[in-house]
Symmetry: C2
Subunit: 216 residues, 2 copies
């Protein structure tokens, strides 16, 4: 079990008490369309959201027990990558990584009923390349390959978080390479086409206004 690296098998066998627990990734088609090309996620100093957003629907929890949901993002290998001739190639050894930060879902702790009644979304999670980040964002190295993981922990509050009874889920289609600027223009176009916040960059059938010239 590599220190902070992705363990195999990806999904831990859940404790017997939770054997019916099931997690389904939402918007799988969208994730797949990115994954087929090679997903890239922008990381910035201030922190950047992931797109697509990680959303999951959960079943099989004890309705009355309390759970904390968290995400972490672990390196998939020991390589550093570069984008060369329209493909990702290994370019060296991975940078050393600080112990991975955890993003605790802000609704935590909540009962099984509350987690199951609607899908759980992690849209507020942010990625940063700033190793000194003070805002609790997840710190990653650019040009490295990562795998997000969802953890479900039965615990009464975030302070008594113990790692003695939890289930971990990793969906391969959510893996990505962290970048500070998009490398593959097909990824850029998929983001523009699907992220509502990037609508300004869509080609509206020739009706798009030209960008204004800034006079300084």
């Amino acid at each position: 079990l590599g220190l902070g690296h992705l363990p195999a098998p990806q999904n831990f066998p859940p404790p017997s008490a939770l054997k019916d627990m099931k997690v389904t990734l939402e918007q799988k088609d969208l994730w797949d369309s990115f994954h087929d090309i090679g997903t890239e996620m922008i990381i910035t100093k201030a922190g950047r959201r992931m797109f697509p957003t990680y959303k999951a629907s959960i079943s099989g929890l004890d309705p009355n027990a309390k759970y904390i949901l968290l995400m972490d993002i672990v390196p998939m290998d020991d390589n550093r990558y570069k984008y060369h001739n329209s493909e990702w190639v290994v370019s060296g050894k991975a940078e050393p990584l600080m112990p991975g930060r955890l993003y605790i879902h802000p609704d935590s702790p909540a009962t099984g009923t509350q987690w199951m009644k609607q899908s759980v979304t992690f849209h507020k999670l942010k990625l940063t390349n700033n190793a000194m980040d003070q805002q609790g964002h997840i710190i990653l190295n650019s040009m490295h390959k990562y795998q997000p993981r969802l953890h479900i922990v039965q615990a009464n509050d975030v302070y008594s978080l113990r790692w003695n009874s939890f289930s971990t889920f990793a969906f391969p289609e959510t893996s990505f390479i962290a970048v500070t600027a998009y490398q593959n223009e097909k990824i850029t176009q998929l983001k523009i086409d699907n992220n509502p916040f990037a609508k300004g960059f869509r080609d509206n059938g020739g009706n798009r206004r030209e960008r204004a010239i800034v006079s300084t």
Copy 2:
């Protein structure tokens, strides 16, 4: 102690263990300028924020104990009011009120250290006149007079909330009359002058653009 009405004295004597607990209302000058005229707060079906925002700085908590902070808003008397000849006058008996809802500060529960390190703001609290509200907003009756109260409860989580050890604080300058439309135009003007979201209604020294005519 009137059922759901404002008890006297307004501030409960705190438990001895919390005798050093202190709560200071922020932006007291702003609250005072409203209070001097007669504060009105809009209530709507969808829920409306309060302005000024209720903010408090807190000291004297046990740094390591965990606390939940809540607000409720209680009737100040049994009257219904109306605004007549530029003043508020009693116009009848109060409407019956559902048991008051509590607004639990979203950072709850947190340690004394966390509550004390910066001021606590309740800007997300919303008021509604919709008795069937499903979104957890505080339900009030229009044309009735109210007093917001802050409660500090030592408790480990929101589910085990017990009313056996808490402190209540009520600042008279935060009392208000709930309305569906402003009655006193001095209140309207104070809101426009101070609420950033109402900047569009400020008179910019004659530079304000005329409102566009809507063609339908």
